[in-house]
């Protein structure tokens, strides 16, 4: 995944309205833009714009069925995003864990010195 693609992906998910659309697609499978518009508190036009951004980020795909266009989540891409995000969080967890060990060791050391001064 290139940095550019990452950027598009996270920007796509960052918007709460787009996440709403994505949520609906995830729970309902293939649906049309008008179906989506009936289930969100924003306009059909807004839904269309969000779908374009989500599609550009590779998070959803489209398929024509008769006169309708149906949208569906791209599971692979979503999975990739989930893993990348989990990696970033895990990185911070490791860093926080290291900070905890260092700070607690420094504190225990300082206390030991303090105690021997008192005694």
């Amino acid at each position: 995944m290139t940095a550019q693609a990452d950027d598009e992906l996270w920007s796509a998910i960052a918007d709460p309205s787009r996440r709403r659309v994505l949520d609906l697609l995830v729970s309902n499978g293939e649906v049309s833009a008008s179906w989506l518009a009936g289930h969100v508190p924003f306009s059909r036009q807004a839904v269309s714009k969000h779908l374009v951004v989500l599609e550009q980020a590779g998070l959803i795909g489209r398929r024509k069925q008769g006169r309708e266009v149906l949208y569906e989540v791209q599971a692979d891409r979503l999975d990739q995003a989930t893993r990348a995000m989990a990696d970033l969080a895990a990185q911070w967890d490791r860093r926080l864990g290291a900070i905890k060990r260092l700070a607690e060791a420094a504190h225990a050391e300082a206390k030991k010195k303090g105690d021997s001064h008192d005694g």
Partner: protein, 150 residues
């Protein structure tokens, strides 16, 4: 990796007072033990520094220094540019004392989109994200997997 609109929040409870935790997160020789391999940084607001990770590295600019409670810096900005809200990631550490000898340490790493949003939107975003991004994506992935298997 520049991740627009991203917010990652993690926290840990440490058995040491904030002053001790503060030194661990801000002193370069300590930082090199939990963060980068090499840290060239003066902890003063606006100070420019550099962090080396293996054979990679990048500039860092200190933003907030409020000992022993808040420390933040920006990174992942283009090398020739000054980091601002639009081109960098902000890493914010918040230290909250819990009793005399304990500190809750929170870290948030955020991208730029959040800052450009209207306040109401930001609040909604923050409220939706108490659980964090990983949980949101996990939930999506789980729902998706359930739908596919059923």
């Amino acid at each position: 990796m520049l991740v627009a609109g991203l917010v990652i929040e993690r926290e840990v409870l440490i058995e040491a007072p904030p002053e001790v935790v503060w030194r661990t997160i801000t002193e370069p020789d300590q930082m090199s033990q939990w963060f980068a391999d090499r840290v060239d940084l003066v902890v003063e607001p606006g100070a420019h520094g550099y962090m080396q990770f293996g054979d990679q590295g990048g500039p860092v600019v200190v933003e907030t220094v409020d000992p022993p409670f808040r420390f933040s810096f920006r990174w992942n900005h283009p090398r020739e540019e000054e980091p601002v809200a639009g081109n960098s990631m902000l890493v914010e550490f918040t230290l909250t004392p819990e009793g005399d000898e304990r500190t809750r340490l929170r870290v948030a790493e955020s991208g730029h989109e959040l800052r450009a949003w209207p306040d109401a939107e930001k609040e909604r975003y923050a409220a939706e994200h108490r659980d964090g991004w990983v949980e949101y994506l996990d939930r999506l992935a789980r729902t998706l997997a359930k739908g596919q298997s059923g």
